[in-house]
């Protein structure tokens, strides 16, 4: 898919909260001692005064700072998340107000499991590309939910990124094209009355993550007449280190291409934030002329793929805001499971 007007990412910003929980603390609480099988060493969790709104605000401010755009020129703020603080009341209005984009702005929260953030990117790309908006902000951010004791508890993490789309001449990365690939696949879901999502065990791998990532990625490469080797960098959704590496290898992307965006290795799976945070980490290192391949995945299920081309402006504005590396470097360890439960809001009074 391509827009009639040329569009680019004109600013980006990341966020990862400071607290980290070692996964061995979670394993110990549940009587598991097999450390070798833990998918990641530690995961990021929000501080007591953080949620997906406050994290989105900081990432959005960084995106606006790098773009050097007056916030009242932003015509859309779309937040993709599956950990909205309110069941009814948009997160996007708080974010729009906090960055100074109100009142002449479209705002909405998007929902599509871990694909919500890249769906916001598709919408922002189209909104600018149609000429309806000069600038549109897309955010993917989560303080991921997981059931205590569930396998997902070892990876469900917090963080994400924001991308401001705007006119191509101002781009830090031009958008060359995008594609979405969606089917009805019941791999992961949560009804309104449930506190934690269910996953359809055997459904999560091949028919879900792999089939949809492959569909969107191959479809976009074919439509652009490109091969994986035409790209300097690539990022896929990263529910765990294994899935991301398996799809990359199968598509014939190398470890070198995905390494800078492999944030899951350091902090776990940030759900709606995961592929976007990986893209932000790649923009932190990409050089003028580097091609970047992006592919998200969300349960339910679907993937969004983007082809991007980094510009010289990327290197000029990079230092205007903290890098993903800055956020990964600041950490405070929460070693006891009780404190972790309190911080993730999992202690409920009956």
């Amino acid at each position: 898919m391509k827009t009639t007007q040329e569009v680019g990412i004109v600013g980006y910003g990341a966020y990862v909260p400071r607290p980290r929980v070692p996964t061995r603390a979670i394993a110990a609480a549940w009587g598991r001692s097999d450390e070798a099988r833990l998918p990641v060493r530690e995961k990021s969790v929000p501080a007591l005064d953080e949620d997906s709104i406050t994290m989105s605000i900081e990432a959005a401010r960084s995106a606006v700072a790098r773009a050097r755009v007056a916030p009242d020129r932003i015509r859309a703020v779309w937040v993709g998340s599956e950990s909205k603080p309110y069941a009814v009341k948009p997160s996007s209005t708080v974010v729009a107000e906090a960055i100074g984009a109100t009142p002449w702005v479209s705002a909405a929260d998007l929902e599509f499991a871990c694909k919500a953030g890249s769906e916001a990117m598709q919408a922002a790309y189209a909104f600018v590309g149609s000429g309806m908006a000069g600038y549109a902000l897309a955010i993917g951010m989560d303080a991921a939910q997981s059931k205590p004791g569930d396998q997902l508890e070892f990876t469900a993490a917090a963080g994400g990124a924001a991308f401001l789309f705007g006119p191509s001449p101002e781009a830090v990365a031009r958008v060359e094209g995008s594609l979405s690939y969606v089917t009805d696949t019941p791999d992961f879901f949560r009804r309104q009355h449930m506190h934690y999502p269910e996953h359809g065990h055997r459904f999560t791998g091949e028919p879900a993550y792999f089939a949809h990532s492959r569909g969107a990625a191959q479809g976009l490469l074919e439509s652009l007449g490109r091969r994986p080797s035409d790209y300097r960098w690539a990022v896929f959704h990263q529910p765990n280190p294994k899935f991301m590496r398996r799809i990359a290898a199968e598509m014939e992307f190398t470890e070198q291409q995905i390494a800078p965006g492999a944030v899951v290795d350091r902090i776990g799976n940030t759900y709606s934030g995961a592929s976007l945070l990986g893209l932000a980490a790649i923009l932190d290192v990409a050089k003028d002329g580097d091609r970047i391949f992006f592919c998200s995945y969300g349960s339910g299920a679907g993937s969004d793929a983007f082809s991007l081309l980094a510009t010289r402006r990327l290197e000029e504005v990079r230092e205007e805001a903290p890098s993903v590396r800055d956020y990964l470097a600041r950490r405070h360890e929460i070693a006891d499971y009780g404190t972790y439960l309190r911080m993730s809001g999992k202690i409920r009074l009956l």
Binding site: L48, D49, D51, T54, Y86, A98, D326, R330
Partner: protein
């Protein structure tokens, strides 16, 4: 119900928006309608940069009503680079040795327990610089 009050204060809470006096150049936070220095009433909204230094601080272990979910936490007085002194909660200070004169920056966080009706108040706090 304090909703109208929070709504009225949102520019101060989200942007650290105070006021600046056209007559004497004084800058104030929270915003004033009459200049406390020269007594003129010609004040315009002014957004502070959010950068400042720690003037004093203390740890709150026994939180007052409405703040229990955040305890323990630090509260500080911050000297904004534009002049005013602001009292606010400090964030991301666990394990950090706070010191008077330490540079801090504004962040937006939840300010208190969600009220009984569930409303979440977001506003300014200060943290040690993310990139020192």
């Amino acid at each position: 119900m304090e909703l109208p009050r929070y709504h009225r204060m949102r520019r101060a809470l989200y942007h650290l928006e105070g006021s600046a006096c056209a007559a004497c150049g004084g800058r104030f936070f929270p915003p004033r309608s009459v200049c406390p220095s020269c007594r003129k009433g010609d004040l315009a909204p002014y957004r502070f940069s959010g950068r400042g230094t720690l003037y004093s601080y203390t740890r709150v272990g026994q939180a007052p009503r409405g703040f229990a979910s955040l305890a323990p936490y630090d509260v500080g007085m911050v000297r904004l680079e534009e002049g005013p002194l602001v009292t606010a909660q400090l964030s991301d200070t666990e394990g950090v040795d706070l010191a008077i004169g330490m540079p801090v920056e504004m962040v937006t966080r939840t300010l208190r327990d969600a009220a009984e009706h569930g409303y979440i108040v977001y506003g300014y706090k200060f943290r040690p610089l993310l990139r020192p």
